[in-house]
């Protein structure tokens, strides 16, 4: 597991070591997802806006008429272009992320693995089952 450390001030005049807990690829994928989801939600709202109320003819009504200012794409065709394009970018980011986790072994940092879980189940059980007296007496 590769982590990057930097020296920062500890606030008392001295220095302490800070650790980037998440590797570069993970952070990059995170921000790429932030952009993708922003676009996907915005263009999704524009796609919602295209749903018409036909009144008598087809008795369906719009659930919510989203404000145009929240929507991306301008019209249905434009919104679909944004939506479909960023769908692929989102998917590609996911593939890169999962591939990185798998091949770098970094998934051990993210997922619970059996060595880390050993003994912890008993520690957590009182909290999980809402028995405060047991929890305060326990090691948590």
């Amino acid at each position: 597991m590769k982590t990057k450390t930097i020296q920062i001030e500890d606030g008392k005049g001295g220095k302490t070591t800070a650790v980037y807990e998440h590797p570069y690829v993970v952070r990059l994928c995170h921000w790429a997802n932030t952009i993708s989801l922003f676009v996907l939600i915005g263009s999704g709202l524009q796609i919602f806006r295209a749903f018409p109320s036909f009144g008598r003819k087809v008795p369906q009504t719009d659930l919510i008429n989203w404000p145009k200012s929240l929507a991306i794409g301008g019209w249905l065709g434009g919104a679909l272009q944004w939506h479909l394009t960023f769908m692929w970018i989102y998917l590609a980011t996911g593939v890169i992320y999962l591939g990185y986790q798998l091949f770098s072994g970094n998934y051990r940092q993210v997922l619970f693995t059996s060595p880390r879980l050993r003994g912890r189940v008993a520690d957590g059980a009182p909290v999980f089952f809402l028995r405060p007296e047991a929890a305060t007496a326990g090691s948590l």
Partner: protein, 239 residues
């Protein structure tokens, strides 16, 4: 908040950080008007390309029981211009041209002489609504075989009496459920639903189901794709 105490170190580190952000700034190209449209067009074309690869020629779209049908009077009429382009139904014929052995004008009797197929299928609009309708007509594949269309040609294009136009990839045109539709709900097409002849392809989105057909061309090159596609909609849009 001063995380980095050493200014020089800070500069080196931040330059490296900026460089690492390059993949994200690449996404920023989408905010540049000059690149935006070509990039989005590429994204859509990629989507269409994938859809094309996943299209299964003999996989059938779902069909429904008669009890599931949307009543004809609730089947929404969607047109881009007029509901009735006033086709002269008595003197109508379909002008066939392009990569075919027998080009010419084919009237409705010739098309009705082909085996008739009636199917209850879902008609889905890009706007988000859908209806289940009963569509009857001749298989497009049978018609293309009759006129001797080159099955290796890439597209068929149609033009309509209301100056709408559309194109369909050959794999979809040859799909066993793709119809030259002259009936809806076992009655001849009404004018607002595209009399006398429309496309009925349950593997495609609604705006591809062109009405009031006047010409059909088999071709390898598309000079224009379709009325809506040329404004930015998906060209393939299978469902």
């Amino acid at each position: 908040m001063a995380l980095y105490t050493d200014k020089r170190k800070f500069r080196v580190a931040s330059r490296r950080e900026l460089l690492k952000l390059l993949p994200l700034t690449a996404l920023g190209a989408f905010s540049v008007p000059k690149f935006q449209e070509p990039l989005l067009k590429k994204g859509l074309a990629f989507s269409d390309w994938i859809s094309d690869k996943f299209f299964r020629s003999h996989h059938l779209a779902p069909t429904f029981e008669a009890t599931d049908l949307t009543p004809l009077d609730k089947f929404y009429v969607n047109t881009f211009d007029v509901d009735d382009p006033e086709v002269d139904l008595d003197h109508w014929s379909l002008a066939v041209s392009g990569e075919v052995q027998k080009p010419g004008n084919y009237n409705l009797e010739v098309i009705k002489a082909l085996p008739r197929l009636s199917q209850n299928t879902r008609h889905i609009c890009v706007e988000g609504w859908d209806v289940i309708g009963r569509f009857g007509g001749a298989r497009l594949a049978d018609f293309l075989a009759m006129v001797g269309a080159d099955p290796h040609a890439r597209f068929i294009t149609v033009e309509c009496a209301d100056s709408y136009y559309e194109s369909v990839d050959m794999a979809t045109a040859l799909h066993p459920q793709s119809l030259l539709c002259y009936e809806m709900y076992d009655k001849p097409l009404t004018r607002e639903h595209g009399a006398p002849l429309r496309l009925g392809m349950p593997t495609k989105i609604g705006y591809k189901q062109a009405k009031y057909l006047t010409t059909l061309t088999v071709t390898n090159v598309l000079s224009k794709v379709g009325y809506w596609e040329d404004q930015g909609y998906s060209e393939f849009y299978s469902i």
